[in-house]
Amino acid sequence: MTPVHFSFSSAFMLGLMGLTFHRTHLLSALLCLEGMMLSLFIALSLWSLQLESTTYATAPMLLLAFSACEAGAGLALLVATTRTHGTDHLQNLNLLQC
């Protein structure tokens, strides 16, 4: 495992741990998702730099575009949740449990 591989893996895992274990606010969950996507962006760009392959140079941009769309959908849902539930606390999303 190279140092680069280790660092992006640990960045991703930190984001995933934050998403799964620290679930107070929806906004912090969305930030964790964004952090995961950015670590993947770093991984993909360094991969294409290391291989010096121009075919993969567009891959990080595509990833960034998709993660921006995802973040936009997430923020729209944040607004919708705040309007319907009053807060962005994930603990309040309990209407469907039984």
């Binding site: 991969w47 595509l62 919708a80 469907l96």
Partner: protein, 348 residues
């Protein structure tokens, strides 16, 4: 919803799944999954009531996490082996990660908790899309990586899904939650046979989609989402109630109906692979599922609900809903067992 927006969303839903089907590169497969997730979100949240928004939020968080994990695992695989092809993954850690991420995407047992809640918050049409069309893309990826997956993990996912799918549905009275647990149990049957005979898993998926479409469309036609409203369907449409009872028994896997075919073939395959214990556990777990299907049948056809209405309502206007899909899928869900040899010849 505006018809133009609806057309764009539905075609993106189709394009996303098709892109995942057609790709051999992990990045494109991931893009297809993301497109279909992003396309269904507005469809889920179009009624602005709190339950729909909550279900959408939960669905978004799980699907986004699963998609990020898939991309992370394939990037790890690319960093260690330099290979982006779906069918040539070889890093064991990446394979375990990707199996769990795909299990999260389709709702297999240890990571299934989102599925009943999300399905409960949606209307029946979107629920139908969620439990049929949205399963196809992740399932195609599972099919492609199935020869390399960790056998113990696959067996554990399959067994846990069938048992928990049967067990969880026992205590439910909401039809959509029961159907969600039924989906988990059926996916468990598909996972267990995935590495021994992938074509059987595909056959099971096709038949499950047929039967569950028939069930969802029946419930949509009589507009019922609870067991208690299901008891009134006989007065509205007696014939469809009878058919729905048999469709439910077909989902449960009783012999003269279609649903028996995949269970029979899978049990035979497991026995041939010298796994009698696994086959017995699967057969016994199917009984748990059968219990809640039987309870739905009982409430629907064998009891008369304690209310003032005690004969069929002749004055009721004819329903204006289209029933073509419903009649075709019901016929397929009831009567395919006799042509099992032909279907086997087509799929294997």
């Amino acid at each position: 919803m505006n018809p133009y927006v609806l057309a764009i969303l539905l075609s993106s839903l189709g394009i996303g799944t098709t892109l995942t089907f057609a790709s051999s590169h992990w990045l494109l497969a991931w893009m297809g999954l993301e497109i279909s997730t992003l396309a269904i979100i507005p469809l889920m949240a179009q009624q602005h009531h709190p339950r729909a928004v909550e279900a959408t939020t939960k669905y978004f968080l799980t699907q986004a996490t699963a998609a990020a994990m898939i991309l992370f695992a394939s990037t790890t695989n690319a960093w260690t082996t330099g290979e982006w092809n779906i069918q040539e993954m070889s890093n064991p850690t990446a394979l375990v990660l990707i199996t769990m991420a795909l299990a999260l995407k389709i709702g297999l047992a240890p990571v299934h908790y989102w599925l009943p809640e999300v399905l409960q918050g949606l209307d029946l049409t979107t629920g139908l899309i969620l439990s049929t069309w949205q399963k196809l893309a992740p399932f195609a990826l599972i099919y492609q990586i199935s020869p390399m997956m960790n056998p113990t993990l696959v067996i554990m996912l399959g067994l846990a899904s069938t048992i928990i799918g049967g067990w969880g549905g026992l205590n439910q009275t909401q039809l959509r939650k029961i159907l969600a647990y039924s989906s988990i149990a059926h996916l468990g049957w598909m996972m267990i046979v995935m590495q021994y005979s992938p074509n059987l898993a595909i056959l099971n998926l096709i038949l499950y989609i047929t039967m569950t479409t028939a069930t969802f469309l029946t419930f949509k036609n009589v507009a019922s989402t609870k067991l208690s409203t299901l008891t009134l369907t006989w007065s509205k449409t007696p014939m469809m109630t009878t058919m729905a009872m048999m469709t439910l028994l077909s989902l449960g896997g009783l012999p003269p109906l279609t649903g028996f075919m995949p269970k029979w073939l899978i049990l035979q395959e497991l026995t041939k692979q010298d796994l009698p214990l696994t086959a017995s556990i699967m057969a016994l777990a199917a009984l748990l599922s059968l219990f809640f299907y039987l309870r739905m049948c009982y409430a629907m056809t064998l009891t008369i609900a304690p209310n003032t209405n005690n004969n069929t309502s002749t004055w009721r206007q004819k329903s204006s809903q289209t029933t073509m899909t419903l009649s075709i899928t019901t016929t397929l869900a009831l009567a395919l067992l006799p042509i099992t040899p032909a279907i086997m010849a087509l799929t294997t």
